[in-house]
């Protein structure tokens, strides 16, 4: 028994606010995940392949790491290796010192929570601001995230309303839109002023050295684009061999995490700002964090390294639903950065069975976590290994089963009984006798009211054991009667199951533009179709509707001929934004970019960075207008990943609708840090 854990459990169960927040989370998240997976033709096959990919990477991690580091370095990313938390923190501090940094803007990274990075940086006098809305809320409250995807899942809107009133001076409101706006305003200046941006990495791609960062609000793009230095933190296990593998994983990660086909922003980061690039950070650092992972890889818990941190197991877990993320505390009462089923394996695996092994016992082994896992990690099996002391504490090599002493004693006695039929029958006779006595005392009640300390008696009665066991009955009277039993005619049920033909993604080659339109609209974006000659008028129309007279725009090389001229003639001021003008660019309300491709399946567009193509044009304004050619609409993500420029651009971003959040009560709010409006204009000939 671990007292700190038990008291956290009791506190969670008694907290009505928390209970209703957790119920709402589980119900909503399970439903949206199921809906999202229904759009895949064969999710089980995808899952199988995803597990194969992760198995391959972890099996040959050294090779993939070497390849990844080589490519990332060639691309100009400064790669660091940290064996433990102290080393990782030291590297960040050294970079901060070199840069004379004062302000650090962070997008959500669980690795940094694992390292305790914020605290370490703050103690050195640095100002560190979390910019994911949920994470910002918990940081203002002085708390840790309670969920790896939705950090403020334990809070209701009233809690946030009170917090913002106290900390931001926002008049108390329960309007989530107003609260989100307040956070947007407060954080915009942080993005613009930050000396360093810190992000996590969802996946690293070995064949290209690409860092894939997935966010919805746009804060991930901000911290990886605006500050002059970007530091990416990544667990060494988060690699994928190829861009094809990334396409597969991206079909599973957002669906599992938030029920989206793709997150709003999927950034593919290749390099820092090049000599001719208009914006982007001058320096990109990547810190590859081991912190116990190599030891786990060599242990019987290796499979836990397949995890892609989607949080689906937390949402599916009936125990998480009851106790919430903050209850997953170690022996010392400090919560692990990783709660839920995944955390109950990761925490003891990385930080020791003695400290966190009890978490693995707080599971009914119902298997809902494994069922939800997009890479099919056998979480119940791993929880059982930890209970048995297998795989944990490799370095000390002394882990033992962690069953409470009284349970171990009871089961020890049971084992003595159950390893001999004679002793077993005797034990049954004793139990039966006890049952008869109890019945006698309870005047015939077939139920026993056990005391609460027994565990069972806390809320349940126990049936009185039979005076005569099955085996007794079978051998004395029952068997002879059965020999006479009549037989029924047997009916056969030849329902031969046909093997479904494997069709990974729904295949609809036609109507690509129409399907892209449907998906984009569902995400809250807008599509207009117009001939080349009318594009300027369409843009003007959008600007006039918002009373806007200036626009951030890409260089004319990347836009239709004479478009910028026509807009200028119409009185629109054209601004080419750069990394040096972010403070003023941030005031401009509209941005005009090209879109190199669109994906019908997900409603996404591909926006590339590089010379003449400032990233900030699609990031800073309220309204993002993107020009797309009809021939560039593709069916699937995997096809778009074949486009060579994705690998050459300093950063490529897949944009799926306007920026959004659901961090407060899972209520969808459009327009957080990135544009709140996305207008795609498809240019068609004739």
């Amino acid at each position: 028994m671990v007292d700190a854990f038990h008291s956290h459990i009791r506190a969670s169960l008694a907290d009505a606010n928390l209970q209703s927040a957790l119920d709402a989370n589980a119900e909503r998240r399970i439903k949206v995940r199921q809906i999202a997976f229904a759009s895949l033709a064969n999710p089980q096959e995808l899952r199988r392949r995803a597990k194969l990919i992760r198995t391959e990477v972890i099996a040959h991690l050294d090779r993939y790491l070497e390849q990844f580091v080589a490519h990332a370095s060639e691309n100009g990313i400064v790669v660091h290796r940290a064996t433990d938390a102290a080393e990782a923190i030291k590297i960040v501090l050294e970079i901060a010192l070199q840069q004379s940094a004062k302000l650090i803007a962070k997008s959500k990274t669980m690795v940094s929570e694992e390292l305790g990075l914020n605290h370490a940086l703050e103690s050195q006098g640095l100002r560190v601001i979390e910019t994911d809305l949920g994470e910002y809320i918990v940081q203002l409250r002085g708390e840790a995230p309670s969920h790896i995807i939705t950090p403020a899942v334990h809070l209701r809107r009233q809690d946030v309303g009170k917090l913002f009133e106290e900390k931001l001076g926002l008049p108390y409101t329960e309007d989530i839109g107003i609260m989100t706006n307040a956070a947007r305003s407060a954080l915009r200046q942080v993005f613009l002023d930050a000396d360093i941006g810190i992000s996590g990495v969802n996946f690293g791609v070995s064949e290209t050295g690409t860092l894939c960062v997935v966010t919805n609000e746009g804060n991930g793009r901000m911290v990886t684009t605006l500050p002059r230095t970007h530091i990416a933190l990544m667990g060494i296990e988060r690699l994928l061999p190829s861009m094809d593998d990334l396409a597969l994983m991206l079909s599973l990660l957002p669906r599992s995490a938030t029920g989206q086909k793709l997150s709003v922003y999927t950034s593919l980061i290749n390099s820092p700002r090049g000599a001719n690039d208009p914006d982007g950070p001058q320096e990109r650092h990547l810190i590859l964090v081991d912190n116990g992972r190599t030891a786990v890889r060599e242990s019987e818990l290796r499979e836990i390294l397949y995890c892609i941190r989607c949080g689906a197991c937390l949402n599916a877990c009936p125990v998480f639903r009851e106790i919430g993320g903050h209850a997953y505390v170690g022996r010392d009462g400090e919560a692990s950065a990783y709660p839920g089923p995944i955390g109950s394996v990761v925490s003891p695996a990385l930080f020791g069975q003695l400290e966190f092994g009890h978490l693995a016992r707080s599971s009914s082994l119902c298997g809902a976590c494994r069922e939800a896992c997009p890479v099919d990690i056998d979480l119940p099996k791993l929880l059982l290994k930890i209970r048995a002391g297998i795989g944990v504490n490799q370095n000390r090599n002394n882990a033992k089963p962690n069953a409470p002493a009284i349970l171990a004693m009871g089961l020890g006695l049971f084992t003595v009984a159950a390893t001999s039929p004679r002793r077993f029958a005797f034990a049954q006779w004793l139990v039966g006798l006890f049952g008869s006595l109890a019945t006698l005392l309870a005047k015939g009640d077939p139920w026993m009211h056990l005391p609460a300390f027994s565990g069972w008696g806390y809320s349940k009665d126990f049936p009185r054991p039979a005076t005569k066991t099955f085996r007794n009955r079978y051998f004395t009277q029952f068997k002879s009667a059965l020999d006479e039993a009549e037989k029924l005619p047997i009916q056969s049920d030849p329902s031969a199951s046909s093997i479904t033909k494997i069709d990974i993604l729904q295949n609809h080659a036609e109507n690509l533009l129409q399907r892209f339109d449907d998906e984009l609209v569902a995400l809250g974006g807008k599509l207009s179709i117009c001939p080349p000659g009318d594009v300027w008028q369409k843009i003007l129309e959008i600007l006039q509707a918002h009373n806007i007279h200036e626009i951030l725009a890409w260089d004319e090389t990347y836009l239709p001929d004479t478009l910028l001229e026509k807009l200028t003639e119409a009185g629109v001021k054209i601004i080419f934004p750069t990394g040096e003008t972010i403070q003023t660019s941030s005031q401009v309300r509209a941005g005009l970019t090209g879109a190199s491709a669109a994906i019908a399946e997900t409603g996404s567009i591909l926006v590339l960075g590089g010379p003449g193509r400032p990233l900030t044009a699609s990031l800073l304004p309220e309204i993002h207008i993107a020009l797309l050619r009809e021939k560039d609409v593709y069916e699937q993500l995997g096809q778009v990943f074949q486009i060579e420029e994705i690998r050459r651009a300093p950063t490529a971003v897949l944009v799926s609708g306007p920026s959004r959040t659901a961090d407060i009560e899972m209520t969808l709010t459009i327009g957080v840090h990135g544009p709140g409006e996305l207008q795609v204009i498809c240019v068609v000939d004739g």
Partner: protein, 242 residues
């Protein structure tokens, strides 16, 4: 078509619910097979395995393997989690023990859960059972997610005459039993059971059927303590009523 099956009645049915064990035998006999009861059987070892006590679990697993080895034919287990223990966890338990691994896998290969055996092996779905009332079905965790058995008990229940079958909301959600979990973390177990009971009340059924007597004990224990009129029942009890 096997003519004789070896019944592994499980320690819970043996000790707490002998009548259910008898119902299992009658149903199997009605479906056309002879039932034999290897007398050396005790417990599959799951409680110790789930507690992390593998040494003890191995001893009980060896006892079980030995108990059934002399008797040919399929082993039928009226419990999803005990069947899953033998089918999946014995391999894990003896992974490093080549002497026993083969024997454990042989045992796993001939073990079936009760409803699975009736439908998939015997091809029986209508046992002529009759139940006049409203029933619902709780999909037990290990049966559903480890053995993938769900259509089989549903097919058996659908063919019960006169029955008014209703779906249990969130039927695949754990009832909060989890063996040692329910005594180590009784508060969480209770909260999970509360949700199961609420689902049962929503369904309007007076009885919830399960293929696992662990779930039956857990759900009934809570229903009785909380003075609820509904009851959980093992599927064999329903199929036994003609």
């Amino acid at each position: 078509m096997p003519s004789t099956v070896q019944l592994f009645v499980t320690c819970i049915l043996d000790t707490l619910y002998p009548e259910t064990g008898e119902a299992v035998v009658r149903v199997l006999e009605r479906a056309g097979v002879k039932v034999s009861f290897p007398p050396e059987q005790t417990c599959c070892g799951q409680p110790a395995f789930n507690a992390g006590l593998r040494k003890q679990a191995r001893k009980m697993a060896i006892q079980t393997i030995r108990a059934f080895e002399p008797y040919p034919g399929p082993v039928v287990v009226p419990s999803g989690s005990c069947a899953a223990m033998i089918r999946h966890s014995y391999a894990e338990l003896f992974a490093d023990d080549p002497n026993w691994l083969g024997r454990a896998l042989t045992m796993a290969g001939r073990t079936y859960e009760f409803s699975e055996f009736l439908v998939d092996v015997l091809g029986v779905t209508d046992l002529g059972a009759r139940f006049d009332g409203r029933l619902t079905y709780h999909s037990s965790c290990h049966l559903l997610r480890e053995l993938g058995v769900d259509n089989q008990p549903r097919a058996l229940l659908a063919n019960v005459h006169d029955v008014d079958f209703v779906e249990l909301p969130q039927t695949g959600e754990c009832c909060g039993f989890g063996g040692v979990f329910s005594v180590e973390y009784p508060e969480i177990s209770d909260a999970m059971l509360e949700r199961k009971i609420a689902s049962l009340e929503t369904s309007g059924a007076s009885m919830v059927v399960s293929c696992d007597s662990g779930c039956v004990t857990n759900i009934n224990g809570g229903l009785h303590r909380k003075h609820k009129p509904q009851r959980a029942v093992h599927i064999a009890e329903i199929l036994d009523k003609v």
